[in-house]
């Protein structure tokens, strides 16, 4: 076996020899590393750019610019009553450099003093022509601003320079085309020598057109120009006419296309439905203190105040309408008719032996709330104080209510666009009291309405529920809604001796139509 003392020697030698070994790597290694580092950095940068937040920000900036631009353009539109059309006509054969120059001079056609000079010298007729009044066929008015030989060269600047050497004495012939842009050109000589014309077709501004006519010199020049025109025409390619037509539209600013993208609004979805709700209604009538007739009966005092309400089968007929505010949220309201049946067990009843009048505890308490003569329970208010008997018989009496309900509920829907969806509902409900029918001790029905001032006309209740929504078609859906309603205020106007906080459990079946 190996001697352990030598092993260390062996490894130490190798370690000493090689641990500090160093060999310069070739330059290609660093180049490779650098290239890979660059690639890594490139990967990092796009990740940053791929962040949706950046794109949202960019999109919102673009949207702001679009809207701002739209508003700005619409603001410009309102400044001028009619669109401005700048028409630049540039015939072939005329130096392009001249067009710029003439474009500067052209707008001043009607106002130029030189024009006046021409008019004065040549005796021209001056006409004011409204742009819109031109007849389609003869809609083009040519102005021959002739320069006779005596005219000095400064006049040349009035309209445009013509570089055509063939026209030594020829002036500039400016064709003011007042026809509408869509009108057809039917003639070829329209183009010819007009160097460049810019027409501001602004209504109702008028273009003063100087028409040189009646002057023999001018007429002569016109004839001469026509011959020149014919010569130039031969050299012009016909296709250039199309170019003119297109150029007419270059500076046209369409003013009707701007506002559309701003008004993009998702239509709200409305729905309406009908349903019926079997329910368990409990008016929860509490007797705070024994009514007068019962408190006089010392024996019955305790028993009379321990009455309780019991729910009976009830139902509601519901209509509902609502609007979907967002993907998940909706608000709904409706009108429901609630028939709330219940029973009251309040012990026995008192009996007046003299007139055989009887009264159970609830009707006696009701009578105590309102002693008005026309109250349906008024006859129960008195007559039991002296000598009345308490008949100790446990008896349930029916105590039925009718309400008109107006709920306002917010709903949050899960899986809103799926076949099955679930909504959590919550809100308030206004219960408008209609009728209370209480069975008396004698078996009669005591009917109390809202006008009797015993029950509150409006009683508020909190409501909550869970709805299962099954989509039958794109418009129709079936709903199953479990709901709970609990009155937040007492049903009685005066809660001195009686208190009532009705509550209800119900399961509603309904169909709904969305539009």
């Amino acid at each position: 076996m190996m001697d352990p003392s030598n092993i260390n020697n062996f490894e130490d030698q190798w370690r000493k020899a090689l641990q500090e070994a160093c060999e310069t790597p070739p330059p290609s290694v660093w180049e490779g590393i650098e290239a890979r580092l660059d690639k890594e950095q490139e990967k990092v940068v796009p990740m940053w750019w791929q962040s949706p937040k950046v794109w949202y920000a960019a999109a919102s900036i673009v949207a702001l610019l679009l809207v701002g631009g739209g508003l700005w353009l619409s603001g410009i539109k309102t400044d001028s009553n009619s669109p401005q059309v700048a028409v630049t006509r540039k015939p072939a054969g005329v130096l392009e450099s001249e067009s710029a120059e003439t474009a500067q001079h052209a707008p001043s056609v009607g106002e130029s003093p030189n024009t006046e000079k021409v008019a004065a010298a040549g005796g021209p007729k001056t006409a004011s022509i409204k742009a819109g009044q031109q007849e389609p066929i003869e809609s083009r008015v040519e102005i021959a601003a002739a320069r006779n030989g005596n005219a000095n060269e400064e006049r040349e600047n009035t309209f445009a320079k013509t570089a055509n050497s063939a026209i030594e004495q020829a002036g500039v012939r400016v064709g003011v085309d007042t026809q509408r842009p869509a009108a057809k050109y039917d003639s070829v000589n329209e183009v010819i020598n007009s160097a460049s014309v810019a027409v501001e077709n602004v209504q109702p501004s008028e273009i003063a057109v100087v028409k040189a006519a009646g002057n023999s010199n001018a007429a002569g020049w016109e004839d001469q120009n026509k011959t020149i025109s014919a010569q130039l025409l031969a050299s012009l390619p016909y296709s250039d006419l199309d170019v003119y037509v297109q150029k007419r539209h270059v500076f046209f600013r369409p003013h009707l296309q701007i506002e559309e993208p701003v008004k993009k609004k998702k239509p709200k979805e409305y729905f309406a439905g009908v349903g019926v709700m079997p329910a368990s209604f409990n008016p929860d009538v509490q007797l705070k203190e024994a009514p007068m007739a019962f408190s006089a009966q010392s024996v019955s005092q305790r028993r009379a105040t321990t009455g309780s309400s019991e729910a009976r089968a009830s139902y509601a007929v519901q209509t509902q309408g609502g609007v979907r505010l967002s993907k998940h949220w909706s608000v709904e309201t409706g009108i429901s008719y609630l028939r709330g049946n219940s029973a009251y067990e309040g012990g026995g009843y008192v009996l007046n032996p003299y007139n055989s009048l009887s009264s159970n505890v609830l009707e006696n308490a009701l009578a105590g709330l309102n002693t008005a003569a026309n109250s349906p329970a008024a006859d129960k208010a008195a007559g039991f104080n002296n000598g009345a008997l308490y008949i100790d018989v446990a008896k349930k009496v029916s105590n039925n209510y009718q309400y008109l309900q107006l709920p306002v509920q917010a709903g949050f829907t899960l899986n809103p666009d799926k076949k099955f969806s679930y909504s959590v509902l919550g809100g308030m409900m206004a219960n408008f009291f209609l009728v209370n029918e209480l069975e008396s001790a004698s078996g009669d029905i005591i009917r109390t309405t809202a006008s009797d001032d015993i029950y509150r006309g409006t009683n508020w209740a909190a409501t909550t529920g869970l709805r299962l929504n099954y989509k039958l078609s794109s418009n129709w859906a079936a709903n199953l809604t479990g709901s709970y309603q609990k009155a937040v205020s007492s049903g009685f106007k005066s809660n001195q001796s009686l208190d009532s906080h009705p509550y209800l459990y119900g399961v509603s079946w309904s169909v709904r139509y969305s539009f």
Binding site: N9, Q13, A17, E23, V29, I33, R36, L37, E40
Partner: protein, 189 residues
């Protein structure tokens, strides 16, 4: 070359290319020598070095300054080299081998007269498993149980592979005739 190690690390953490290059310049040579020891040819060594430096730059944030920077760099390079060897499947089949000690005495053993390149070449000529385990045990100073864990082999395999490496290296050294004056002469066959 004078450099502030802390500043260098800070620069690399900030992805500063100058600092990265400086780190490469300072440690590249030593780390390349490690790569050469673990691989069979220069091309593989260069690949390992590249991969190692990319790892170093990417994971420099995990370096804690309480340990020496060079130690951390060496460990990254060794791990990269081991990964490379695994990919090359050099480390796939490492078995226990019977090693017969050749009886050579190490008492007078010295490497002082060998060139570093010669020694490097001897290591690279070892079978892959032996080469790796020799490097890890003899040069890097890992224990056999650590090596077994790193390579997923038994401790016995690590030991036997190392013994074989040691024997092979001794044989290679013995092929070189050493003279008393310290010069080394290639053995004539």
């Amino acid at each position: 070359m004078t450099f502030n190690e802390k500043e260098l690390v800070t620069g690399c953490k900030q992805r500063n290319r100058i600092a990265q290059k400086q780190l490469y310049d300072v440690f590249g040579g030593k780390l390349f020598a490690i790569c050469l020891r673990y691989t069979k040819n220069r091309a593989d060594a260069e690949d390992v070095l590249q991969d190692a430096f990319i790892k170093i730059y990417e994971n420099i944030d995990s370096f804690r300054s309480d340990s020496p920077l060079e130690y951390w760099l060496r460990s990254v390079v060794v791990n990269t080299a081991l990964n490379h060897l695994r990919q090359q499947k050099y480390l796939k089949e490492l078995d226990d081998i019977d090693v017969h000690h050749n009886g050579l005495s190490d008492r007078e053993f010295t490497l002082g007269n060998f060139q570093m390149q010669q020694l490097m070449e001897m290591i690279r000529e070892l079978p892959p498993g032996c080469q790796t385990i020799f490097n890890l045990y003899a040069i890097e100073g890992y224990q056999h149980n650590e090596i077994a864990q790193m390579l997923g082999i038994s401790e016995g395999t690590s030991k036997s592979q190392y013994s074989r490496a040691r024997t092979l290296l001794q044989q290679k050294l013995n092929k070189e005739k050493r003279f008393d004056d310290g010069s080394v002469q290639h053995k004539q066959f």
